[in-house]
Structure formats: structure tokens, C-alpha cells
């Protein structure tokens, strides 16, 4: 499929050089490769620079509120399991204000691919530190350097039971596209944390900073076994000197949340609702009254 089918007529407002461009491109490539039509996919985002991504695409898009795309996407995925649901949001949105949903989505395992635009900073609000900012990072709200240990999203995802954990880099849209394809093919929740340079506010974690540290897991060690949670745990903790990219963890065979919902087996809430539209069938409820007699 031609990825241009996903182009929208809107004007992009990201800063020149922003890592988000590559993420947008990678998502289009990944969808095209899977031959998914624009109306078959729903991209849900929150609020932030990166969360504007759906505005720049021709797909079903829902730009929600700050920190809440995961539960909105979960509702959509449960109501219409035929939609391919992708969440795209920033590190603040995902791990800061949205942290609780992140935690519980990992263990819930809905069929959602979650791409985090992790620029280690709050872009849209002009440069405050984020949960993933490296300790000591100086911003307007951390003039003496941030004092919290940076959140390790991959480690938390593993601890919380995520069945697919990957890391991409905005300097490599091809690899990112592959990760997105793998995430979407994965049955269950897939986290793809993307190192995304913010050229305007993050003068520390730049393209060069990342480039000098990253390596591709699968290239470095062909025997790396992404089904091993121990290996993934270890890799998730590499950061200061060497930063692995690729699929750290991929465990198939675990049922998704949707798989377990008996009501979804040959139906979906959406279908139920749509059929009622023409055919309310009141008599089906009549017997329920007996439990009150």
C-alpha cells in the first residue's frame, strides 16, 4: 500500500528536526506494510507535541486529554475488537499523568499497540522535566536538577506484566516501522518506547547523544531471546553507556483481555448496539423481571 494514503491535508506544526516526524513516518510505513486501510485503524493520543500526530494523518483519530489515551483506547478496543487500535503519546502523557493507566494496561493486556514519543521532557508546555528525564536534568521546574530517579518505562512494563516491550529511535524510522508492525501483529498490549529527540527543549538527549549509545539488540546478539523475561529485565536496565533498541521482550500465547471476555466471543458491544438500532427485541428482557418476584 502507498503510505501516502495516510496523508492529511493539515499543516504540521512540529519544529524542524523534531523526532516526531520520523514516528509519524514510521507509523505510516507500518500501516502500509500491513495493508491496513485508513478507516480500519484508530489512533488515540493525549495532549502534548507528539499527541498531535493523529491531526497529521488520515486515519480515525482521537486526540483525547492529557494522560488518558490508554483507557479511551481500551474502551474502543473492547467495544469494537475489529478496529486496529494504536495509542501514540508523549512520555509525560504516558508515564507522568497517565502512569496509572500504563501500569494497569500492562497487566490487562488489551490488543493495543502503544507508541511512546519519549523525548525525556515536556515539550508542549515548554521544557519542564518529565518522568524519564535523566536525574539532575535542569529545567524551569528543576533549576537544581531533577531529584527523582528517572522512570525506567521498560522495566516497569515488564514488572507490570506487559507481553511485548520494545524500544525504537526516531533516527531510524525503518527499524521503528518494523517494531510497530511487530507490535501490531503481537496478540496483546505492545509497548514501543521511542527515543525521540526534542530539538527545542532537550539539549542533553540529542540525536548525537542517542546515536553514540544505541545499538540494535538483534544485530548485537543474534542469540538474544526476547521470550526470556530475565534477559529483558537485564537489557531494560542498560542506559548510561549503551542503550539497546529493538524488541526486548515478546511473549506470545498469553490471552488478551478481549480473548477472555465471553460476551465478546461471537459478538461485540458495538454490534449489539447496532443491531438494536433496527431491532430492539424487547421480549428478550422479559424473563429478567422474574428475579424480582
Amino acid at each position: 500500500m502507498d503510505p501516502r494514503i495516510y496523508n492529511a491535508p493539515t499543516k504540521n506544526t512540529w519544529c524542524a528536526g523534531c523526532g516526531d516526524f520520523a514516528i509519524l513516518r514510521a507509523l505510516k510505513l507500518a500501516l502500509a506494510e500491513q495493508v491496513i486501510a485508513p478507516h480500519e485503524v484508530l489512533v488515540v493520543s493525549g495532549i502534548g507535541c507528539g499527541s498531535k500526530l493523529p491531526d497529521y494523518m488520515n486515519v480515525n483519530g482521537f486526540m483525547t486529554i492529557h494522560g488518558r489515551p490508554l483507557p479511551v483506547a481500551t474502551g474502543a478496543a473492547l467495544a469494537n475488537p475489529e478496529l486496529k487500535v494504536v495509542v501514540v503519546n508523549g512520555d509525560g502523557d504516558s508515564y507522568g499523568i497517565g502512569g496509572n493507566h500504563f501500569l494497569h494496561t500492562c497487566r490487562r493486556n488489551p490488543n493495543i499497540t502503544h507508541i511512546v514519543e519519549n523525548n525525556q521532557v515536556y515539550g508542549l508546555t515548554k521544557g519542564q522535566y518529565s518522568p524519564t528525564s535523566d536525574k539532575g536534568y535542569v529545567t524551569t521546574t528543576s533549576p537544581d536538577g531533577s531529584m527523582e530517579m528517572a522512570l525506567n518505562p521498560l522495566a516497569v512494563a515488564l514488572a507490570a506484566g506487559s507481553t511485548f516491550v520494545a524500544r525504537g529511535f526516531a533516527g531510524d524510522p525503518k527499524q521503528m516501522a518494523q517494531l510497530i508492525v511487530a507490535g501490531m501483529q503481537h496478540n496483546g498490549y505492545a509497548l514501543i518506547d521511542v527515543l525521540q529527540p526534542c530539538v527545542t527543549f532537550n539539549r542533553v538527549n540529542t540525536y548525537d547523544w542517542y546515536r553514540s549509545r544505541i545499538y540494535k539488540l538483534d544485530e548485537m546478539d543474534e542469540t538474544y531471546d526476547p521470550s526470556s523475561s530475565e534477559a529483558a529485565w537485564e537489557k531494560a536496565h542498560e542506559w548510561e553507556e549503551r542503550i539497546p533498541t529493538g524488541i526486548l521482550y515478546n511473549r506470545e500465547g498469553i490471552p488478551t483481555y478481549e480473548d477472555q471476555v465471553i460476551q465478546l466471543r461471537d459478538n461485540s458491544p458495538l454490534k449489539g448496539t447496532l443491531s438494536l438500532w433496527d431491532d430492539p427485541r424487547p421480549e428478550q428482557y422479559e424473563s429478567l423481571k422474574e428475579q424480582f418476584v
Binding site: 491531526d55 486529554i65 483507557p71 474502551g75 467495544a79 460476551q263 454490534k271 449489539g272 438500532w277 418476584v293
Partner: protein, 609 residues
Amino acid sequence: MTEKTVNDLSIMIGGDAGQGVESSGAGFCLALARTGLQLFALQDYRSQICGGHNFYEIRISDRPLYSHREPIHVLIALTPESVALHLDSIAPGGAVILPEKFEIDEAPLKERGISVDSLPLMKIAEEHGNRLMLNTAALAATAALTGFPLEYMEQVIRENFGKKSAELADTNVAVARAAHELAMERFGEDFPFRIEPPKKATKRMLMNGNEAIALGALAGGCRFVSAYPMTPGTSIIEFLSALPHEYGVVAKHAEDEIAAVCMALGASFTGARAMTPTSGGGFSLMVEAVGLAGMTEVPLVLVDAQRGGPSTGLPTRTEQSDLLFTIHASQGEFPRIVTAPTTIEECFEAGWRAFNLADKYQCPVIIMTDTFLASSLRTLEMDAIDFGRVVIDRGATVKSTDVDGESNGYLRFRFSDDGISPRALPGRGTATITAASDEHDETGHITEDSDNRVRMMNKRMQKLETARAEMKSPILYGPKDADLTLVCWGSTFGACREAVDEINAEGGSSANVLRIIDLWPMREEEVREALESCKRRVLVEQNYTAQLGKLIRMTTGIEMDDTLTKFDGRPFSPPEIKQRLGLEAGSGNEVGPKDLQRADQEYVVRRLR
């Protein structure tokens, strides 16, 4: 005492949490209702699982009941505390049944002609079964006291316990029989308040407001419900979770209320009819997402089952104190609909109607109830829940692929005179749908353009005017011209209705009740007209600040003449309303003074502030 009162009494069973007061009370209700008697039953408990006084109050009659009411005629006191607490609520000629000898001061009771009987019920329970069956014994004794045939009770016992084991049912029945026998011996047929099953047993349901909302929602096509447990909203998701799978209702207990409301919103975005029930504290957490639904025009049904506030407040008690909050909740301005059913029948209607309103006006719809309405049981006629009456109207939801061919892309937020834009669903046709919480243009894409902003605000807000046309008019109950009009909303209607009936029956002055079900947008002109023609307007609200009064004044300028508020978490009862209006009945149903007017409670009839 020779004169007997038949089928007009209230029975209360009081004890400690953990003594099974509620479940046995509910069982007794079922036994009574099956005979064709009409009931109103109320539970009262504290926010703690064990310990602490609980009670269950059952009012019994031949005619339909709309409220609990003091006095009570039989008090089954499983603990000495129960006697102390309800002393003043017992009618002269009534009875107190104790399951063993308690150290209580019987003099004040005897003085008022109340009999106090301790029966060795605990002993009977232990002999024929075990200590846990005390409440069965007590209720069987009550049946004996009031002349209610034991057979109905036995049937319910067999049903309820039979599910677990036949043996359990047998022992319970044995306990009941022994207690009944003993009590028959003790009481004979002397007790003046009698229960007589009607000749013909009309089949009726025993239902509470939450169950009615859940049934209405189900019949209205609700297929997705997400919630985080919060009393008294929880039982809605619990009821829908327990439905047979065939109904296809997906129920999600979420990690918190923010997730709950967002999941419902996401489900609704795809086209499913989705709901999220909660109570005030949970609603507080949902506020931001309510604004998201307003801005992105996603239909969303919420239930706020109010309880005693502020904050955690009185978690298991009743109050109507979220009205102005829900009407104004969330930053900025957007249309929403707030409706408050006043009866269990109206709860059922609200359950399905809310989805039609949400779909037609593409906005949040909030159903407001309270602990009293949500959890009190009443006997309902079988056709009070009429699935055939349920209408499913999805408004301007576009069914198929109608919009696929639209040039320039599909305009999800197309400008229109009534503010409503045809809504296509993602994934159902080839059109793609974009929605954003930022201000957006007709396609849904973000824009800060000033002209577009003004038009979009006008479009969205116009929906409120369009909706106003189908909002319910205020409803007057009682004679058209009356000396006194009680103005109310929500669950207080039941007590108002009975109070007014009695006032009118007693002659002297006349009264009626004006209730407003659709609170936002309100039929302001009609409310104004209705109120302007009233002689004396008295607001009755279960809150401190008289919120409906404020709302009416804000929208119509009209001020009430008097205000009755109550905010101790206990529901209004008809005698209390009459007493506070200075219109006590001269009937035999008199009550002790302390029950209605405690000196230090300062239930002043206040001017509206």
C-alpha cells in the same frame, strides 16, 4: 385494645452489621410481596463491614407506598442498642421483640403502651440450627405476632437456602417453625397491627432504583459499562456484570474512575452505547473527561448516585448535594443534560432515555439519584417495567457508509442550525473520523481560527436549546390550586407525595407537589409559570444549601417562600415534612416528638440564601 389496624404498619429489624439484618429483611419482604401486599423497604447501615448498628425497615400496606414512614409498629431488636436508638419511633400499642433478656429500661416503652417481649429466640436458633439463624427466628416470631401466615416465609427460606443446600433450608425452616409456635403461644391474636394477605395475590416485583436503571439501560441498548466501585453506585455495574452472557454486555471494573469514564467514552466513540455509574467522589474524578465528551461530542451516560458529602462524608447515607456541581462540572462551557428520576419507575425510563438523549445531542447525560432511591425497595406492578415501551433513537448517528462519498472528507462537526452534526462511526464505512479535545473545525482537525471558534461554540451550545424542547416539563402532583406547593427533585418526591395526600385527606389546607425531573437544560419558562401561579412555594431538599432553589432562582429569578432542608443523611419521611410545615396530622399515627424535631438539629424553615 380491641380495634385492629390491618395492613398498615412498619416493621424494623435492627442489629449489628454482620447479623444478617439486610438479607433476612429482604427475604421477609419477598415473602410479604408474594402474597400481594405492597411494600416499601429501606436499609440503613454504616460505612463499615462489621460492628455498628444496622437496620432494615419494612412498611406494609394494601395500597401503593412511596416512602418509608414513622412510626414503626414492631421493632425486632437483635441488640440492646437497637432499642435505645429506636425507642422514640415506636407507635403506641406497638411491640418490641427481644431475642433474649436484655438489660434495657422498659418503663418509657410501657408508658406509651408498647409491649416488650423477650422470647428465647437465640436459644431456639441454637437448638434447631445455629446462632446465625437468629434473624430467621425473629422474623418468624414477628409473623406470629402480626398474624402473617408462616407458609410464605417457609417458601422463601427454601428458595434462598435451597440453592446452597437442602439441609440448610430444612434447619432454617425448623428454626422458623419453632419460633413461630412459641410466639403464637405468647402473643395469640392480641396485637393490634395485623398483616393479612390479600384475597388475590397480585404478582409484583420488588426492585430498587439501581436495578431499574440497569434494566432500563440494558433495554436501551447499553452494551458497555465501566466503573470503579463506589457506594451506592456499585450495584449498577454488579447487576450488569451478573447478566447472562447472551445479553452481550461488557462490564469493566477499571483501575479508577478516570479510567472508567474514559473507557466508556472510548467505547461510545466507536458507537457502542456506554455508561459509567458512580457516586459523587467518583464523579469528581470524572469531571475532566466529561468535558472531553462535551467537546468531542461523544455521547456518554453517567450515573451519579449521590451520598452524604462533602468528601467521603457519610458514605452509606443519602443526600442530594451534587446538583449544582454536576450542572457546572468541568472547565469551559459545553452542553450536557442532567436528569433526576423521582421514582423507581422513572429510574427505568431514565436508564434507556439517557442513551437516546446522549445520541441525539451527542453530549454527556448525567442521571442523578441518591442512596435512598438507589437502594430502597418498593413493590412495582409488573408493567411498571415495560420493555415494549422502550424506544431506541440514535439521533443523527449515521448508520452505514452514507458519508463515504463526501467530497473534501467527512465533516464530523458540520455546522447546522440545530447544532447537531451527523455522526458516522469509525470503522463502519471508509470515511475516517477525527476528534480532538482542542477546538477544531468541521473535519475535527485542530484550529485556533477565531471565526471557526465562534461558530463551533455556537453550534455546540445550540444543542442545549434544541434539547430543551424535548426536556420534561415540571410535573404537578395533587390538586391544581392548592394553598401550598412543595417543590422538589429526585427521591424526596416520595415523601412529599404522601405528605400532600395526607394533608389533602385531612382537609383544612390543600397542598400539591411540583417536581422537576429534567434539571438541565430546564424548561425554564414552564417552571416559572408553574411557580408563579403557586400560593406558597416550599422547597424540600435533602441538602444544606437548597440547590434546586438556587438553580430555579438562577434560571427564572423566582425565590421560594420557604425551604425545608435535611442533611443528616437520613431520608425525609412524610410525617416529618408535615410536622416541619406545622401541619401535623391528628391521626392515630402519631410519633414521639424527639424523632422529628431534635432541639439541637436546628431544622429551621429557612429563607433561601
